[in-house]
Symmetry: C2
Subunit: 312 residues, 2 copies
């Protein structure tokens, strides 16, 4: 195996993304040593127990010492606090990045703490599942996905290129954009979809005329698709909405306007408006499948047929 | 193999549900003969060509002649017209059912045409994929799913029980309820989820600040989950919304109210409201998995990792 890309990598946070990065780095031989920190003692125990990391540290500052690459894999609401904590321990010349779903607020909260000589290059891999914790990660999570980097103006090009190479070796394509544009894009491809998924699951569980057991039984009618993303980590998602407020509100406003127009079409029996929209939306699905961003198989490739007990 | 449940079954409409029924009936030996009709000549050719049906008929009336079970598998908007067409050809003692996603309107449109001595028992299998057409069907579609029957007051119990046995042999559990209750339940587990999925895909494709190519590239952030059901058959879904108007409008009203409350929480930075909802919605997902109505595997069991060309 060739020289690792980074002699020492530190991961702060060992949830789905942090643990998947461990697996991907090992698959590709990207790190000479993986140092990890998690706030919870139980996560730290699990992480070292299952061999995710080479060393585990009780504080984030200890974990980042001597690291050439530091990746913040914590909810976006605590990135600033963590940055403050580790600032003094960062090695000159190190690359500091994150994986947060919001970039404007992370830049605002983290940048002031970054010492001179440390290269801060915010990032965001567009990949995930609804599961969380150190045991939910897997090496293939980033394969064929995109990772967005938002290097600040004047960022060190060598550092940005090295981080780009890192994500490419993890299986992803890399795109650069400004934090502001990232936050707009993510509002529509991720944040608002999550909010409306959470919302409809809430609406369903509050009905008086339809029982929760009926909602569950008959969920194969479409509802179950929404419950997957509505099972995502609550802390992470609360922070996303609080910190990408403006783009979320703007996108949500458009969604609600469009929905009011559809509602009107339903009320007035305007079948053409419905039919035209329903035809137009098929093209986007085709585009996503052609771009390898979803499985072409029907029903996400879900297994059909009776399953034996214990099968997943 | 034991005696088939029905000597002759006629299917009017050979899309996803009709063709899946053919496969399921063959797997279980449920029909002595399967007669089929589809409006389009191309569908009729395909259906006989791939051996879906034993005989194909140019008119629905010819197809139902001598059938012991007739299943309408057409969009709900045309059930009434088809019923009128076949009324004179129905065999006395036959069971007439349908698979439509709306029951009140189907009962209203079909019942007046049903001759005395024919048993009309409306039905609705809660199963599907986003694909359509005679080649999209498969035998396992109904396994471990639910089928709702809405027998009218005074329905012949033997006929209802036979239809129940039919669906059970196709792999499903059967529940009986009134058409009105069915339409309320389906509004929340299926119709409104489809409407908001269609809506957000429309909103995304109309943005000026984010390109369609960006929406596609970064759709793994959550958006792609919505595009699957927004790729469902436009005619079928237009009819559903036009014919289940009241329940859809009522459910949509609640959804929008709840969304406005969430929007307010985002605007005012009310993290507790967001966190509490996001925690509550996880329980419903667990219930759905425990009831075998979705895969327990992360991300619907979607394949991760690089796929070879030609793999699906």
């Amino acid at each position: 195996m060739s020289e690792p890309l980074f002699a020492r990598v530190a991961l702060i946070g060992l949830g789905l993304i942090g643990s998947s990065l461990c697996h991907a780095m090992r698959r590709e031989g990207l790190a000479g040593h993986i140092a990890g920190h998690a706030r919870s003692g139980r996560t730290r125990e699990t992480a070292i127990g299952i061999g995710l990391v080479d060393s585990i540290h009780e504080t984030a500052a200890e974990a980042v010492r001597d690291a050439d690459l530091v990746v913040l894999c914590v909810p976006v609401g605590v990135c600033g606090v963590v940055a403050e904590e580790i600032a003094g321990a960062l090695k000159p010349g190190a690359i500091l990045t994150d994986v947060g779903s919001v970039k404007g607020a992370v830049v605002r909260d983290v940048a002031p703490h970054v010492p001179d000589g440390v290269h801060f290059v915010p990032g965001h891999p567009i990949a995930g599942t609804e599961q969380s914790g150190p045991e939910s990660g897997f090496a293939e999570l980033f394969d064929e996905r995109w990772c967005i980097l938002t290097p600040p103006p004047g960022a060190d090009e060598e550092a940005v290129a090295r981080l780009e190479a890192f994500w490419q070796r993890c299986g992803s394509s890399v795109e650069r954009m400004t934090p502001e544009h990232h936050d707009l894009v993510l509002a529509i491809v991720s944040h608002v979809p999550h909010l409306i998924a959470y919302n409809i699951v809430g609406t369903a569980s509050d009905l008086e005329t339809v029982t929760q057991s009926e909602v569950i039984k008959f969920s194969a009618g479409g509802f179950r698709d929404f419950t997957r993303i509505a099972a995502s980590d609550p802390t992470m998602w609360r922070d996303v909405f609080l910190l990408n407020r403006d783009a979320v509100l703007e996108t949500l406003g458009r969604f609600s306007e469009d929905l009011a127009a559809l509602q009107r079409a339903v009320r007035w029996g305007d079948g053409d408006t419905l039919f035209n929209l329903f035809t137009r939306t098929r093209a986007i699905r085709r585009g996503i499948i052609e771009a390898h961003q979803d499985a072409p198989a029907a029903d996400f490739g879900r297994r059909h047929g009776k399953q034996e007990p214990g099968e997943s």
